[in-house]
């Protein structure tokens, strides 16, 4: 075991380098999280009496549960839209020349280069009563009165999908790029049509990217406070806004903390479902 001391030295050296980040996380992530947990375990707003009252209140209140449910559903819808639209973009990207690839990457990244607020207001302009869509449909005579797009679930999903698209497309591009193009040819030469090749070869092998993209998109979609609030307006309530109202407007910190913890656990549950799905399917990352 002559090499053991040396390797231990190397390890401790690396741990030392991680210390600043660890300290940062401890002070600005772990500590506030523990404070949040501590707060949520009090029954009164002054945080004097211990108890599980806040959790009981949330879990027995149909309104609170419906906000949680519609938030998780919103995430699922946005993720589904991003996956269905993002996969073809990533697939296309891997099959075009370098010049077109640069253009595609630019288009994919463009949403990240502008502020969320700006992008969201752009969607208000597009979806509004006198917005681009309604104006076009009316001038074409397809509809008589403007249809309601803004302040609807549909509007929120579309706007969020556009905003979060890079989070889905980039992991997919990476995952598809890792697949050996000879596998396509091999599948084809063995008699498989393009659909069989896609479902039996391309999709299973791109699953790590699909899982990564879905996890990122989902997490980003359900916590997107600005887009949810501006496009959803006052008529649609999702967890981030609910949380904000409780904490900021009503000053009910223990209840807001309980909402946070429940939201956190719900998101962790969904993410672990994604991860398990990835592990069950025998992708590269699997066995």
């Amino acid at each position: 075991m002559g090499a053991a001391p040396a390797s231990r030295d190397v390890t401790s050296y690396r741990m030392g380098l991680a210390a600043p980040l660890a300290l940062f996380f401890l002070v600005f992530f772990v500590a506030p999280l523990l404070q949040l947990l501590w707060l949520s375990l009090h029954n009164d707003t002054a945080a004097v009496h211990w108890g599980l009252g806040q959790y009981l209140q949330f879990l027995t209140d149909p309104f609170s549960l419906s906000v949680l449910g519609s938030t998780l559903l919103l995430g699922a819808e946005v993720t589904a839209v991003c996956l269905v639209l993002g996969f073809p973009i990533a697939w296309f990207y891997q099959r075009v020349g370098p010049r077109l690839q640069t253009i595609i990457i630019l288009i994919v990244l463009l949403p990240l280069l502008t502020s969320v607020v700006v992008r969201t207001f752009a969607w208000i302009v597009i979806l509004g009563r006198q917005g681009i869509i309604n104006a076009t449909l009316q001038s074409l005579g397809i509809i008589d009165t403007p249809i309601k797009l803004l302040y609807t679930q549909f509007g929120v999903v579309i706007a969020l999908a556009q905003v979060q698209m890079p989070l889905m497309t980039l992991p997919l591009i990476t995952a598809l790029g890792r697949i050996d193009s000879n596998l396509d040819d091999a599948s084809c030469s063995l008699g498989a049509g393009s659909w069989r090749t896609f479902f039996k070869i391309v999709l299973p092998l791109s699953l790590p990217g699909v899982i990564a993209g879905c996890t990122l998109t989902y997490a980003a979609a359900i916590t997107a406070f600005i887009t949810q609030s501006l496009i959803g307006g006052g008529q649609m309530l999702f967890m981030p806004m609910y949380l904000y109202q409780q904490a900021s407007t009503l000053q009910n910190w223990p209840f807001a903390s309980a909402i946070s913890i429940i939201f956190l656990l719900a998101v962790l549950a969904v993410v672990s479902v994604f991860t398990t799905l990835g592990r069950l399917s025998r992708g590269y990352g699997g066995a």
Partner: protein, 364 residues
């Protein structure tokens, strides 16, 4: 193999392929391959051999010409309907599928039921001598084993033609010989018409019934290994297949079967006009293989000075500088005691026989 097919013929009829940029990838290739033959497409990288393979497989649509398998013109068929089996250079096994799923993949695509598929996969794995590997994943196999699986997978669809793209390039030398024997055995058993793309001349000469030598997209020669080696039709074939000394000279007199050439190195020798008739007075390049040169004691042949002697196991190679300053290699079998020559020794060299020197019109 009970289901051995006779092997279908393959005709490459005046195939030309032009890249979108306008550059020619292959130009007017004609190959008439009989059922059950092993053919090697031999050439340096970039000579168009892989393009030709992909045209036959259907991945590239040629600009002109036809591909005929058996009695069918297959140009309109996509790759998945050509029933052409391919073994890729990197094997291209499906990494997420087990070995038996890999082998059965083509059968599943044909809608064959699961029990038959499994039985057939097992039969093929027995055939390639991997009977116990069916449940493993490709990455758990060695390179040679992966190649056997790739072969089994290609053979499972009972292809009319088997295409092998540089199949042995990734294997180390000992394993390569084993796999070459294995492939030849499987080919003999199944009788499948087989095309091997390779840049390795030894592989081409040892495995193929006939060798097609390509250079810059053109077919230089298509013949038996001994034709290609002993009676090369072009200067390229003569120098690419086997080692060869290139000696410039001028034609003194010539008829259809023999030409008297005055070498710049300073001797008149008789050479075979290999690339067609030669004009008197025209400049030629004479190719003589190192093993076809001998030391002579009299005043015939050309003079030179020994530069270096390299004992290479069974043979000894001497490097000789001739009067015109060019280098010539002569290789001698190592019989009895080693005959190494002193550096600087004056010698005279001549071809063993006139038929062993090939004269080609000099290209400028």
């Amino acid at each position: 193999m009970a289901d051995a097919q006779g092997g279908r013929s393959l005709v490459v009829d005046a195939v030309t392929h032009r890249y979108p940029s306008g550059a020619l990838a292959v130009e007017n290739i004609n190959l008439d391959i009989k059922g059950g033959e092993i053919i090697a497409l031999l050439g340096p990288s970039g000579c168009g051999k892989t393009t030709l393979l992909r045209i036959i497989a259907g991945f590239i649509a040629q600009t002109q010409g036809r591909i005929i398998i058996g009695d069918d013109i297959v140009d309109a068929l996509p790759p998945n309907r050509r029933a052409v089996g391919i073994v890729f250079q990197n094997y291209a096994l499906f990494p997420h599928l087990s070995i038996s799923e890999n082998v059965a993949y083509g059968l599943a695509a044909r809608g064959i039921d699961k029990a038959t598929r499994q039985r057939e996969a097992q039969r093929l794995l027995d055939l390639v001598q991997l009977p116990t590997m069916s449940e493993r994943l490709p990455r758990q196999l060695s390179g040679g084993q992966q190649q056997r699986v790739a072969l089994a997978r290609a053979l499972a669809i009972k292809p009319s033609i088997l295409l092998l793209d540089e199949p042995f390039a990734a294997l180390d030398k000992n394993l390569r010989l084993d796999m070459q024997i294995e492939v030849k055995r499987l080919q003999r058993v199944s009788g499948i018409t087989t095309l091997i793309v390779t840049h390795d001349q030894e592989e081409a000469l040892s495995m193929a019934d006939r060798v097609a030598v390509l250079s810059h997209g053109k077919l230089e020669q298509f013949g038996s290994p001994s034709d290609v080696y002993d009676r090369p039709q072009t200067l390229f074939v003569n120098t690419f297949v086997g080692a060869s000394n290139r000696m410039p000279g001028v034609v003194v007199s010539a008829d259809r079967t023999a030409a008297k050439v005055r070498l710049d190195a300073g001797a008149e020798i008789i050479a075979r006009p290999a690339g067609g008739a030669l004009a008197e007075g025209g400049r030629v390049t004479v190719c003589i293989r190192p093993e076809h040169l001998q030391f002579v004691g009299d005043e015939t042949g050309f003079a030179g000075v020994v530069g270096m002697s390299l004992p290479l196991g069974a043979t000894v190679v001497h490097e000789v500088t001739t009067a015109d300053g060019s280098g010539v290699k002569i290789s001698q079998a190592r019989i009895g005691e080693t005959r190494t020559l002193e550096s600087g020794a004056a010698v005279r060299l001549a071809p063993l026989a006139p038929s062993l020197a090939n004269a080609f019109p000099a290209t400028l």
